[in-house]
Amino acid sequence: MTVPILEVKDISKTFGKVKALDSVDFFLQKGVVHGLLGENGAGKSSLMNVLSGIYIPEQGTIKVQNKKIDKLNPELASSLGIGMVHQEFRLIENFTIKDNLTLSKANIFLENFKEAYLKYSEIFSLNSSYNTLVKDLSVGEKQKVEIMKLIFKNSAIMLLDEPTAVLTPQETSQLKISLETLSKEDEKTIVLITHKLKEIKDFTETIFVMKNGKMVAENLQTDEVSDKHLIELMMGEIKTISIRKDNLKGETKLEVQNISLINNDEVNVLNDISFNIKSGEILGVAGVSGNGQVELANVICGIQQEFNGKVLINSNDVSGKGVKSRKKLNLSYIPENRLGVGLAPGVSVLDNSAIREYFKASYGPHLSKGKMVNYLNDLIKQFSIKAPDVKAEISTLSGGNMQKLLMGRELISNPEVIVAAQPTRGLDVSAVESIHKLIINQRNEGSAVLLISEDLDELFKLSDRIIVLYEGRIIKEVDIESANIESLGLAMAGINE
């Protein structure tokens, strides 16, 4: 084995009482695409922040090209050729692509910018002129610019933090090809950080796995390792829940007829959408965000009251009626935006827990605190929510507990119809599991569920049927038995064969 281009040994880093990194070893081979796999909070980002000089570890050694580096800081890391693409882009929106690429003083393509841009924009299939302003680019295109920035400042080691989180399946496979080209032709050393198993298998040649701040597996050859083994490493144990898809389907609970909606900018955001969901059925809604999902949920849940078409809950026409009419018919809505829509920031846990049914704790104008507290205690017990102080602001809860509180609040009354938008976004694997369980239990209790998600794995796991939204239309509708990822991915990009 050749000498690694970068090698760290015995790195530890603690934050307060939490050991973010616990004696971690890690090394990179030149010109190879490495995968770093782990759940949220496993220590992946902490390790990357150590490598890019942002965090200073308490112990351990860092060697770059076999030379020991004493005090790594961001500037030094950059001059050693270590570059990172963060999850939040660090681009200047009002600058052109060219200005963003040449901003760094380490920029190596000042003289022959045009040729370099031509070469790399082709590798990334970026079809924009370098005079385009960054704010006019799509998310996927911005990411391409962000990665190209590393190339332009001559980074030999490229650390990419969850780069596929914002991409469509097509963009993801495009990124795969670009990274392969970079590693082969330019001998770039690439680290792909992700918690998505499929991508790590597709993209990388060698895999490292972290769990609870420790490196639990080093340098596994991607071709040789099985999915099951990786999951075991990442999660400790596999908790597969078997999901019956032959669940009993009853009568129609939710009926949506020919819904069209034109927004303030006179864009047709929803276009003749019709479907129905039976009791005990989960209808998955796939689609890249911004294709009408939020608007559809708002129409069904009564937030958007002016639209064409009809919404029927248990055969009751609720079109033109408000949120409260839906609540009376026992519809629950778990909105995409947890803190800000589902939960009110700056307001106590107790107040937030009552948002769905506060009127049940009232006698005329009087609101019974006792009833609210009892209700919250039920929620805390039934959904095992960790809430140290119910009078404290909602933001004192962790993301997972916030989502549990929100889900619990919406599910505790066994709703007839559930609309859930991105219910697991941003949560770690174990929280995702428990949210999935809640949704399935609810389905088995006879609820009709509309599940809006960008995560195809989630949709495949939970849905009985899937529809794909593209530019406000249902471009595809399939039963889960006959669905396949590729055709759904194409449909998400607007191609329906």
Partner: protein, 353 residues
Amino acid sequence: MNNYILSKKLFRNELSTFYSFLIGFIIALFVGSLILLIQDKNPIDVFSLMLKLSVGSINSLSNSLNKAIPLILAGLGISIINSVRLWNIGAEGQIFMGALALNFFYINTSIQNSALYIFLLLTASFIGGSICILIPALTKVLFGVNEIITTLLTNYIVFGLTIYLINGVWKDPASLNFPAAAYVSELVYLPIIVGKLSSGFLICIIFTLLAFYIKDKSVFGYEMRIAGGSELTAIYAGISAKQKAFLAMLIGGGFAGLAGGIELLSQTHRVSTGISQGFGYTAIIVAAITGMRPLGIFLVGCLFGALTIGGSVIQTIGVSSYIAEIIQATTLFGALVAQFFFSYEIKKKVENG
């Protein structure tokens, strides 16, 4: 020196607002003492005289509590409006408008039953306060215009209107060159309970409990909290955030208007520029010190009333009455700083250890 960062504490002591107030008040007394020392006055003498002449007898105590009434009512109004996270800087104008509305109603009606008449007059003053905040409320919910600016500006408009009326159509010829409207009949004076204490203080107690109930115990208060937390959450919950904001502003304005009405019927007995001596502005301090809690507003309002009385009497020994205002303002300043340290802590930065 960038090794320390400010981080928000997850949990705050429930009594932290009270402690902050105490700390602020102690700092204020200390600052006041320093100023008195510079003027060669003995602070202990001055403060004990202030104490004696503001709460030392039934008469002085009732003077203090009478002064507290407008502070408390306007402060309560501000705190109700703050439930939807909006600021009412216009309590001063609303106080005047309450008095104007009362006088307008008084001039145009004649009712024999004095209890009923007083009730109707005070209702008119409440409505006057609501009318005063109507334009800021409408522009807020319809166009999103910043209510801090609009409520502040209405103060000047209403004050101008008052000057116009008492120099013009309402001017009492008997008041000679002093611009003021005619006195109201003694029949509608608010009765005295004890000493000089006006029965307006009872109204004040009732409205304190009412504000506490609205804010903490009612469905409307809950809906205001949610609407104040996030308009989108309110809409999601089926609560009209705009409607709550609108109602909160009208009610809060009404509280301040009522303060003007009580002031007219119990103190000035006529419309003049003396209806308010900056009560609407001091009420902002009172409300802010207490973290917008009605019961706290009641207590701090009483204290500030006593300070104002104490401040005015020490002029007799050659000390400026501004010492009371300095203490009030410094209390707010100290309390806000203390609240800051109760809510945040300075931590050593961990990343770059």
